[in-house]
């Protein structure tokens, strides 16, 4: 037993001794693994960070995610109802909120009751004893996010003044708060807003306290329960974006694994004499394989650990909010993360190890099949390589078949991802074959020019070199393709997202009055205002089409509004038929689900019978889980006379928004849910998206860097092996500078061919992401935008990377002493 162990130790030691002679190879292997893991874990960390930012904004004091109790008329009500409900067993917490003007800027002042505040309503609930005491005791506290403090032009400790002359307690920064919100104790809010004993609404905790009396028994019909809303469109759009980023993480990981695969392939090749010697000394193939596996797992473990750290570091560096990321990583104070983190680490490391083993699998298989004697002859390996290349071609065809099957017959998200994976794999497998064919054609073409033997040689030699470089070239292909794909995806997302936000949330202020009468009153009041305000009434109704409940929305009669409506497809004269009241636009989701296209007719059930509508076009309605039809607003009211006409969308010059919102709220007692300032929503959403976009660009650079390193190491390894090919040319009189130039041209040609092949592949990847993966996950499709300048830029970067990778070994050749070249002939095989 101990003899066996000792032998294992001895084998392992011999195996490891290889790295001492080839530190660069070890570095490639480790760097490949580290970068693969880092890219993957970094993307994960970024995703989480961005999600948290959204959650922070969405969950803040309920947003729409928490159930609330509100007065029937939306006005403030007595806090006695809060007490009555608590005493009856209800887990409710009071909130008093109103828009206030501070230094000319409109912010939301929220009074909370920290002891009863449900924990799911935001990080402000996580006050510890000392903080709570400061919050509840004189001089009290006004909690604010740093960005809000900056935008108000105030400093911590200052007391903000309200327009009614009241001042708030000293400001204190609370990083977890959403922007544009000031949080005080409810008692302070009641005093500052001069609403003693009044509350705007009650938050209902998700977790009940226990049995409770029915609502009507406690408060009669004075309060109504507003159920929490499901995800908003914005959140769905974000989810989709993050799904795509996750896909990017996977792709980057795959690129990293290719590098690992190429590095491992090379080390296997170089250690063949060592393997042979060990086998001849009596080491069984099983022991050898086992020890190789031990070595690999150990390397993967080290690299995986460093990679995880590097990934987090990268995420932290790339995000402006470094502190927040670090807090998420290292502190135990945020519940949920604490339990997630070990699992995350284990998952990340396991992924690295599985990846490393998968990358080494071909090497193991080859080793197993190699006979002891054959192992000594490099040609045997080459032959195997040749045969393997042929098999690769066949395999590529097979994998392409699977990809096509995934596209045609798969409908799940899994099939979408499988399509992505098989597409990339097939392309990588086919690359050497494709390059070989291209070179063969070129060689034939060159053979016509008999005066150019060097040119002919260059093509022939490139073909021979292909097998050695193929793995590195595959890595380059995948890196460029993934870059193209992800840039296209991100660019398309951004273009779509920004236009969609601008178009669909075109109005600056949205409000929902308590009644039709109040809406009319508000409209009159708005017309008397000095500002230029465009009032777009919004009417909605619910109906059933093809067995499913859908939303009917009325289009406002406003040229600008109609011009910017995000139509994806339209029949001729679409808007005229809409105005006539017998046509409708259908949302993309509904058009997909019900198979509706322009020109089709449908019958919509209304309060007064059936309403036949012709489909005049399809519009983007990203993130809306419900199907929607858009019809003329007046026609909608005619067919649904009972539909409430309480919604108004207002367009106004942006600087006037906050004042108008505050005036509207104070004049008509509109609650937070009844009026929304979209400019803030838009700005915040764009900011978070831009952060993620910047990060993606940086990630792209990382991926290309990884591919360049792979190319460099492959070329370095090949440099020595290629001397027997180069020495005869040198002996025939080709100067070293000329030889170097030819070598460089060859490498660059291979790289350029690869990069060019990567462009269509990348576009295909981008298309898969937005048109397959996204549609299967969310039911809507982002239009694919191709950005040619971006592609050129990427190609240029890839070529620069290839140039740098090729230059290092060539510099060696350039300065090679003639003696070394002559020695090639001395020990000719």
């Amino acid at each position: 037993m101990s003899g066996g162990l000792a032998r294992c130790g001895w084998v392992l030691k011999t195996l490891l001794s290889h790295w001492r002679g080839h530190p660069m190879q070890l570095a490639t292997l480790l760097v490949g693994l580290i970068l693969a893991t880092a890219l993957w874990s970094g993307v994960q960390a970024l995703n989480q960070q961005a999600r948290q930012s959204y959650a922070r904004a969405a969950a803040m004091f309920g947003g729409a995610r928490t159930a609330t109790l509100v007065a029937k008329d939306g006005a403030a009500f007595s806090q006695d109802l809060f007490i009555a409900l608590r005493r009856a067993g209800w887990a409710v917490s009071p909130l008093l909120e109103e828009r206030v003007q501070i230094n000319g800027r409109s912010v939301r002042l929220v009074g909370i009751e920290p002891l009863t505040l449900p924990k799911e309503t935001g990080a402000v609930a996580r006050m510890d004893g000392g903080e709570l005491r400061t919050f509840l005791m004189p001089p009290y506290q006004t909690r604010v996010a740093r960005e809000t403090l900056v935008s108000l032009g105030l400093h911590e400790g200052e007391r903000p003044q309200l327009r009614n002359g009241q001042s708030l307690p000293p400001l204190a920064i609370s990083p977890a708060l959403a922007p544009g919100v000031l949080v005080v104790d409810i008692g302070i809010a009641q005093r500052a807003l001069q609403k003693p004993n009044q509350i705007s609404r009650l938050l209902v905790a998700r977790q009940p306290l226990g049995p409770a009396s029915p609502l009507s028994e406690v408060v009669g019909d004075r309060l109504q329960l507003v159920a929490p809303q499901s995800e908003s469109g914005l959140e769905q759009l974000t989810d989709s974006f993050h799904l795509n980023l996750t896909a990017f993480g996977f792709l980057s990981f795959a690129v990293g694994l290719f590098i690992v695969n190429s590095a491992i392939g090379l080390t296997f090749e170089q250690r063949r004499p060592m393997f042979r010697t060990m086998r001849a000394c009596g080491v069984s193939a099983r022991t050898l394989n086992a020890m190789l596996l031990v070595e690999l797992v150990a390397l993967a473990l080290v690299a995986g650990f460093v990679g995880m750290l590097a990934g987090y570091g990268m995420a932290a560096l790339l995000l402006p909010d470094v502190a927040a990321t670090l807090r998420g990583l290292y502190s135990a104070e945020i519940p949920g993360e604490l339990t997630l983190r070990p699992a995350w680490w284990i998952a990340g490391l396991a992924m690295t190890m599985a990846g490393a083993v998968a990358a080494a699998a071909t090497g193991f298989i080859k080793l197993q099949r190699l006979s002891i004697l054959a192992a000594a002859q490099p040609d045997a390996w080459k032959e195997l390589q040749q045969r393997w290349l042929k098999r690769q071609g066949l395999l590529a065809v097979l994998v392409t078949g699977i990809a096509i099957a995934c596209l045609l017959f798969g409908h799940s998200l899994g099939a979408g991802f499988a399509l992505l994976g098989t597409l990339l794999l097939a392309a990588a497998l086919a690359l050497p074959v494709a390059l070989g064919l291209l070179l063969q054609i070129s060689e034939r073409w060159a053979s016509r020019y008999r005066r150019q033997p060097l040119l002919q040689w260059a093509f022939a030699d490139s073909r021979q070199q292909l097998s050695g470089l193929s793995l590195a070239l595959m890595a380059l292909l995948l890196a460029v393709a993934v870059n193209v794909g992800v840039s296209t995806m991100v660019g398309s997302f951004r273009a779509t997202f920004v236009t969609w936000l601008d178009d669909r949330l075109m109005a600056d202020v949205y409000l929902d009055a308590a009644s039709n009468e109040q809406a009319a009153e508000i409209a009159q009041w708005l017309k008397r205002r000095p500002e230029q305000i465009a009032i777009l009434p919004g009417v909605r109704a619910e109906t059933r089409v093809a067995g499913q409940t859908i939303e009917l929305m009325g289009l406002a009669d406003n040229a600008e509004y109609r011009r910017r409506w995000p139509l994806l497809a339209a029949a001729p004269d679409a808007w005229r038929s809409i105005a006539q009241g017998d046509a409708a636009f259908v949302s993309e989701q509904l058009s997909r689900r019900a198979g509706l296209k322009p020109g089709d007719t449908i019958s919509v059930a209304t309060d007064a019978g059936h309403w036949p509508l012709t489909i005049a076009g399809i519009y983007a309605d990203y993130g809306n889980p419900r199907g929607q039809l858009a019809v003329d607003g007046d026609a909608l009211v005619r067919h649904f006379p009972k539909t409430p006409r309480t919604r108004l969308a207002l367009r106004i010059a942006p600087p006037q928004v906050s004042r108008l919102v505050a005036d509207l709220q104070n004049t008509f007692h509109l609650g937070e849910r009844q009026i929304a300032d979209q400019s803030e929503v838009k700005a915040e959403s764009k900011r978070i998206f831009d952060k993620t976009f910047a990060v993606t660009a940086a990630l792209n650079a990382f991926t290309l860097g990884v591919a360049a390193i792979a190319l460099l190491t492959s070329l370095l390894t090949l440099a020595g092996a290629r001397l027997p090919q180069l020495a005869p040319l040198w002996a025939m009189g080709v100067t070293l500078p000329r030889l170097s130039a030819i070598e460089l041209a060859k490498t660059m040609m291979l790289a350029l061919l690869t990069a060019l092949l990567a462009v269509p592949l990348g576009l295909a990847v981008g298309w898969c992401l937005v048109a397959v993966v996204n549609v299967r996950a969310f039911g809507w499709r982002i239009p694919l935008h191709v950005f040619p300048s971006q592609l050129v830029e990427l190609l240029a970067i890839a070529m620069v990377a290839a140039l740098i990778a090729a230059a290092v070994p060539l510099a060696k050749l350039f300065r090679m002493p003639p003696a070394r070249l002559i020695r090639v002939f001395a020990n000719e095989r």
């Binding site: 608590r86 009751e113 920290p114 510890d128 709570l132 005791m137 409810i186 003693p196 226990g210």
Partner: protein, 355 residues
């Protein structure tokens, strides 16, 4: 077990203020600005059944040892704490400086279910009225009917419920409340720390409890403790072991041991004859020795004891009904029903804090 994130580390507000880490839950903090506890002040009822906001801390504490119709033993705890965040005038409405905390628990040999409620004073979510007596927080309450006796503090209706348990008991007795210590002045150290302390150990209890959806009718005995102080612990006292014992003979015994940093402790107790006569026990007369410890998470708590009171010929062992009777509340502690064996039989409640 569901814990509300915001109370984690709350450590009962006083502990987080300037008096941080002064004894268990900050009870050893400076008393400056609060009303002092003085020897010789006569307690008056019903006024002293109500709240004393000028003192820093106060509690209404009921424990009950019950027997179910199913023959099983059960324990019930119902507690309301009041804590002032700062000395001074009480403040109006939300400006009140009073915080209230309710703890309730139901214990069987296999289950220990508990819940916590927190509330601000001043707005009616929690509070105590002296007459007719009514202590409440959210839907939990301890309420005497109109015209109930101020001397006996009986009868009382006790109610509490949570997502996984429900308590509905009626407590009754004809005996007057019993003053602890010297006429209600209960010394807690040799350096003057003290509290006002009286009890009603003679309650009979009857009603219904539910554990995890299973209801059971119960009868038994209950003990109410009333205590208020501004600095009940000396700064070096880190916790206490307290027990209330219903002996089979009808006698009632209250014992406590305050543990000091230096390893010494301050022992005190009261022997209440079956007829209600109270006899203070000298520290030298009381022996309290842990015999078994229970590990709950990171806490190691003495849950079995050997207790001797030489002058009364009492030598008993005390064992928990459920060693896992841990109150995982903002201030965590162990509190649960116990069985008594030895020279005397009976049941009781054990409380162990600061572990």
């Amino acid at each position: 077990m569901h814990r509300r994130a915001f109370v984690q580390g709350l450590a009962w507000l006083a502990a987080a203020g300037p008096a941080r880490a002064q004894g268990f839950a900050g009870l050893g903090g400076e008393a400056e600005g609060y009303a002092p506890v003085v020897r010789g002040r006569a307690l008056t009822f019903p006024a002293d059944h109500g709240a004393h906001p000028q003192f820093r801390i106060e509690w209404w504490y009921v424990t009950a040892n019950l027997r179910g119709e199913d023959g099983e033993a059960y324990g019930v705890q119902w507690t309301l704490f009041r804590q002032a965040m700062a000395p001074g005038s009480e403040g109006q409405g939300w400006g009140s400086r009073q915080l209230w905390m309710g703890h309730a628990a139901v214990t069987s040999a296999r289950q220990h279910l508990f819940a916590e409620r927190l509330a601000r004073g001043g707005v009616g979510q929690a509070g105590v009225e002296a007459a007719p007596f009514h202590a409440f927080i959210d839907a939990w309450e301890l309420r005497a009917p109109e015209g109930a006796s101020a001397q006996t503090l009986a009868p009382l209706a006790l109610k509490a419920s949570s997502t996984d348990f429900r308590i509905d008991l009626r407590l009754d007795t004809t005996r007057p409340v019993v003053l602890q210590g010297e006429g209600g002045y209960s010394e807690k150290s040799t350096r003057g720390q003290a509290s006002y302390y009286y009890s009603q150990p003679f309650f009979t209890a009857q009603g219904e409890i539910a554990l995890a959806g299973r209801s059971v009718g119960v009868t038994g005995q209950a003990w109410l403790d009333r205590e208020w102080s501004s600095q009940p612990l000396a700064p070096d006292q880190k916790g206490w072991d307290w027990m209330s014992l219903h002996l089979a003979s009808g006698d009632k015994v209250m014992l406590f041991r305050l543990r000091q940093d230096d390893g010494a402790d301050y022992r005190s107790g009261n022997w209440i004859d079956a007829d209600g006569t109270a006899h203070a026990l000298a520290a030298s007369d009381i022996a309290m020795t842990p015999t078994a410890w229970t590990t709950i998470g990171t806490h190691v708590v003495p849950t079995s004891w050997r207790v001797a009171i030489a002058s009364r010929g009492l030598t008993i062992s005390i064992a928990p009904l459920n060693p896992q009777s841990w109150m995982g509340t903002s201030i965590p502690y162990w509190e649960g029903p116990v069985r008594i064996e030895g020279s005397h039989g009976g049941v009781g409640y054990l409380e162990a804090t600061g572990y």
